[in-house]
């Protein structure tokens, strides 16, 4: 089945220790997104890639970086995690054709990050 896969599902890191979260997709979608969802809060878009073009949200802290080495994979790097970065991190994908005005986003199961 075509899907969005996130690894690991649970990640524990120490305060200030860099961490990388992984997302892969078999949908061959050209857009990939990273959202941060804190407990009882709305998912918040951090950034997205349209093909290789990186689009950062204005209020995303510099501590968060992303890489997309190919169509299938996208990584979220947190350079120096703080306690406030503990959250569920959701990866999503969509296909943007340039003509359609709506394209569904498909979400992965998320990675729950704990910062000690």
């Amino acid at each position: 089945d075509a899907m969005v896969i996130q690894n690991p599902r649970y990640q524990v890191t120490q305060f200030g220790k860099p961490v990388t979260l992984s997302c892969s997709q078999t949908l061959n979608h050209n857009v990939m997104y990273w959202y941060q969802q804190k407990s009882s809060q709305a998912p918040k878009l951090l950034f997205h890639y349209y093909d290789k073009d990186f689009n950062n949200e204005a209020d995303t802290p510099d501590n968060f970086q992303s890489r997309r080495p190919n169509t299938s994979f996208c990584f979220l790097d947190i350079r120096s995690p703080g306690l406030g970065d503990a959250a569920m991190y959701l990866c999503a994908t969509s296909r943007f054709s340039g003509r359609a005005t709506y394209n569904e986003q498909f979400f992965g199961p998320g990675t729950r990050l704990t910062v000690l």
């Binding site: 969005v4 857009v31 009882s40 878009l45 997205h48 073009d53 005005t101 709506y102 992965g108």
Partner: protein, 115 residues
Amino acid sequence: QKEVEQDPGPLSVPEGAIVSLNCTYSNSAFQYFMWYRQYSRKGPELLMYTYSSGNKEDGRFTAQVDKSSKYISLFIRDSQPSDSATYLCAMSPNILTGGGNKLTFGTGTQLKVEL
């Protein structure tokens, strides 16, 4: 003021009840309105989407959009215990620029359907 407001609940109803979930928004540019269901420790999954004002029905689910009031609703008929989840509304403008559509989510309403 948040762009999208959603009552967080929790909402507890008996099996078979009709459930009404609602969101209000402030951004007039929103054109597409979605409802996502999120089970505990899982990613959101799309239930329905609606373009502009109107109603859309899919099985036991009905989505309504009233753009004049900036108000959207999701109705669940004959609710089942398997409907117990968090329901997130999401919205996006009509964007034809590169980069796909940016979703703005509500905080989600936690629903529990009890036997």
